[in-house]
Amino acid sequence: MDRFAARQPAEDGWEDGALARAISGGARAAEAEFCRRFAPRIRLYGLRHLRSEDAAQDLTHDVLLRSLAKLRAGEVREPERIASFVLGVARMLVHERRRRREDQLNEEHLARFEYTLRPPDPLAADRLRQCLDQLAERERAILLLTYYADQSTENIAASLGLKSGTVRVIRHRGVIALRDCVGAAPEASR
């Protein structure tokens, strides 16, 4: 079964507490909704802390596995705070990964469910390139150094003779401008 195929559950709109209780009660649809809801959040957390798409996806798989095991067993003490529980599992596993080289994965329990975990559709390259070309040179430079060369704010600041705070502000401005230009924002900038 392709674990990356997308399938929406028949029921959704559960509040977190109701979702957790439904999972404890054995509702398959609730487990699928749980995976769909939390997989993107865990992936982004993994990208932040593990700096790799592959590692983020592995982390997502592991966190969902362990969380579901606890939920099925009714061992989550505060079902209404399921989000905090999942975050706690994610933190624990990131910590373990940093200490261990290999993880043993038990895929048996997740094989029954399908959830989308491929990276989101990439932005249209041509549109992004046009938007990037419209930026001021300094904004474009800082974004290229940040996201391609993966340089820290301090490195960029030293390289360009700017203050770190200035680099950060320019980066914010550039990224937000790109977001608005490519039309990804559903509402006004915050």
Binding site: A141, T146, Y148, N155, A158, R171, V182
Partner: protein, 190 residues
């Protein structure tokens, strides 16, 4: 969970800094608690993550250029992209010929020192038509460690230029006085 909007949306700047690992630990901890509980802010975060990934893809696909530094160039080389490099000094004409490379790197070297508010004036002379374009003025940045102004151009862009002469002047402020450097001249053959 039926309403996807957030009643206390997180600042765009914080979301951008979070992905870079540049939030203070306490602020990051609080933000993560919120993100795991908020699909709307998670979606905003995902948009910013896609922007960063999109920029990486553009550079890796030899579709983006601009002002860079020596660490960026090193990253290009490490990733296996082909780079043709030209080093320009004031008053010396350098011949360049377009080839199949992914990127063309132009390095302008002079005693830039602490030059600030840097701009490059570019005069383009189409030698095939004997026509000069209006002088273009672009903001630029000096790589302080290398002491050079470094520009990368996608190879596809360079290969589209006709037989031409590019004359560049760099100017900026140093100790409250305007300083000019150049001319930096490239004799381009397609």
């Amino acid at each position: 969970m039926s309403d996807n909007r957030c009643r206390a949306p997180r600042r765009d700047a914080d979301l951008i800094d979070y992905l870079r690992g540049e939030l203070p630990a306490e602020a990051e901890h609080v933000l993560e608690e919120h993100l795991f509980d908020c699909p709307a802010c998670t979606e905003q975060l995902a948009r910013f993550e896609r922007i960063g990934a999109g920029i990486r893809d553009l550079v890796a696909g030899a579709m983006a250029g601009g002002v860079v530094n020596h660490q960026f160039v090193e990253r290009l080389r490490q990733s296996g992209l082909s780079i043709r490099e030209y080093r320009l000094t004031p008053g010396v004409t350098v011949s360049c010929q377009a080839g199949p490379e992914d990127y063309v790197l132009v390095r302008m070297a002079a005693e830039f020192g602490s030059l600030a508010d840097v701009n490059v004036e570019v005069e383009f002379h189409d030698l095939e038509r004997n026509a000069k374009a209006p002088v273009m003025r672009r903001q630029a940045e000096i790589d302080r460690a290398a002491g050079e102004l470094m520009l990368v151009f996608p190879g596809t862009v360079v290969r589209s230029y006709p037989r031409s002469l590019w004359t560049m002047q760099v100017h900026g402020r140093m100790e409250d006085r305007v300083q000019r450097f150049g001319p930096f001249i490239m004799d381009h053959t397609p």
